[in-house]
Subunit: 303 residues, 2 copies
């Protein structure tokens, strides 16, 4: 999975991930008009997402769907979440479920099956929320993460473990210094390298990636140097304040090693640019691609 | 909310929480027969949960519903999750959604609304997965937790932040030692005390509680001494290996300060004891209540 994602990034010369963190409030007024229940909101969100996917699927390799925005609309929201995953996949996109799931082993296994695997019912094996990759919170340690890694191995999937998040107060926990002189985020990063050992692909990156915020260039530089086999999912570009120069250090000498997410900057581009939301999203993606390519340079499939 | 929970624990002389981590596999064969899709599985799980709730609602103050087990069955599973929350609430139980949600501020706010608050659609404010309390992972620091605390203040709700989890490898992260000599779990615990400051109720406990595993008595003892205003949600009793003696240290001199979860030991009691699953669950709850009361002693509403 990670090899195919890298190949697609190189083919498109674009390490952009479109974040479908689709709040109902982001929708243009005509799509919100007359809607007064979860069913209606979920249908409108799914329609909005389809139009965004159609507008960007020839330009970007992946979408990241933030499940929190769908849970807010109950089981109807989760239906829209599932429809969005399936629609993006049908258009050839890699699909990352941003769920930051975490629990003890037996329960982590349920989450892993829900997003990356199948659940058994009677004799049938069925997919709940089929995704190529899912984000995971590693606070519970190995036995909370390895059930996800097992699904990665079994079904050629991937995960991204939170290492250094893009928000201001992530530092309160992640930047504490341990007695061995390393920070907690470096400690978590080292575990991520270990968890990924068995799944390193042909370009040197494993199926166990890390979330590393673009808003934290110093930490990102350090992590890129330490985690040779860890592919980065990089949030924070755009609305959260990071620019392309800040995230250059997330990429290796071949211009690979990460994918950069942008959600509001693309979904809500029409509010700044005017015009139809899907066309504005496409224009924002083209601009972001140029911005990233200028800083990162040519991307090559090499080890 | 926390005051009412404490009052109910004292009234019932029972700090037991029944964990509805209802895997389809836990159901008796006759409830699983002929089911081959998510709709059928979800309906069977909801029916099983209703029978458990009916069997224990006069004995225990609360249920904890583990959402991972429902996500595995797609949006139908989430419907069963919602129905279970509502049914338990209608029977007078406190309802804890065990979701371990976490994200950056704006997204954490969506999760907080989904479980503790309301989502706005048009002019309407609607509840997605209405719960009294939800579990939260604090790895993202204050701005990932405070949106939940705001809902606690606004709507008299509660949260439990993961501090020291019950699984074996939680130690890999949670027990690292910082340069100030404290462990990460103590550091997280101190943040929990701070996050709860504004919500301390009449018995001295705040709306921001902590998850502290019964399987870790040494850490639990230390946390009970340090976190004077933090109410504990205590997993690990029963199937995970902890006994009542191990968790005595989680309670204060009035016998309050925590609630002990048991999931498989109650849901699957019929497999050991025989008989109807609901009757076996009731018998297991009565046995657990005796076991806890013997160790903890009388519980009193006092500060």
């Amino acid at each position: 999975m990670i090899d195919q994602l890298i190949e697609k990034i190189v083919e498109m010369q674009n390490p952009t991930c479109v974040g479908l963190d689709t709040s109902f409030d982001y929708l243009p007024e005509d799509m919100r008009a007359g809607v007064s229940d979860f069913e209606g909101a979920a249908n409108a969100i799914a329609a909005f997402n389809r139009a965004i996917v159609d507008a960007v699927c020839d330009l970007v390799p992946a979408v990241k769907v933030q499940i929190a925005y769908y849970e807010g609309y109950g089981e109807a929201g989760l239906r829209a979440f599932r429809e969005t995953l399936l629609y993006a996949k049908s258009k050839g996109l890699f699909v990352i479920a941003d769920a930051k799931r975490n629990d003890i082993g037996s329960t982590a296994s349920c989450y892993a099956k829900a997003f990356l695997g199948t659940s058994s019912v009677g004799g049938a094996s069925l997919e709940a929320f089929p995704s190529d990759m899912v984000t995971v919170n590693g606070y519970l340690g190995s036995d909370g993460v390895l059930p996800f890694v097992e699904e990665c191995e079994r079904r050629d999937k991937g995960i991204f473990v939170l290492v250094k998040t893009s928000n201001p107060s992530g530092d309160e926990i992640q930047n504490v210094v341990l007695t061995n002189g390393r920070t907690l985020y470096e400690h978590m990063g080292a575990l991520v390298e270990k968890w990924g050992e068995s799944t390193v692909g042909k370009y040197g990156y494993s199926a166990v990636g890390a979330v590393v915020g673009a808003t934290k260039p110093e930490e990102a530089r350090r992590l890129r140097a330490e985690l040779k086999h860890t592919f980065f999912l990089i949030p924070g570009y755009g609305a959260q304040g990071a620019n392309a120069a800040m995230l250059r250090c997330c990429f290796d000498e071949n211009g690979i090693g990460g994918i950069v997410n942008n959600s509001r900057g693309i979904l809500c581009a029409y509010k700044k640019r005017g015009g139809h939301f899907a066309e504005a999203a496409r224009a924002a993606v083209i601009e972001m691609q140029r911005d990233l390519a200028q800083t990162i340079g040519e991307m090559r499939c090499a080890k």
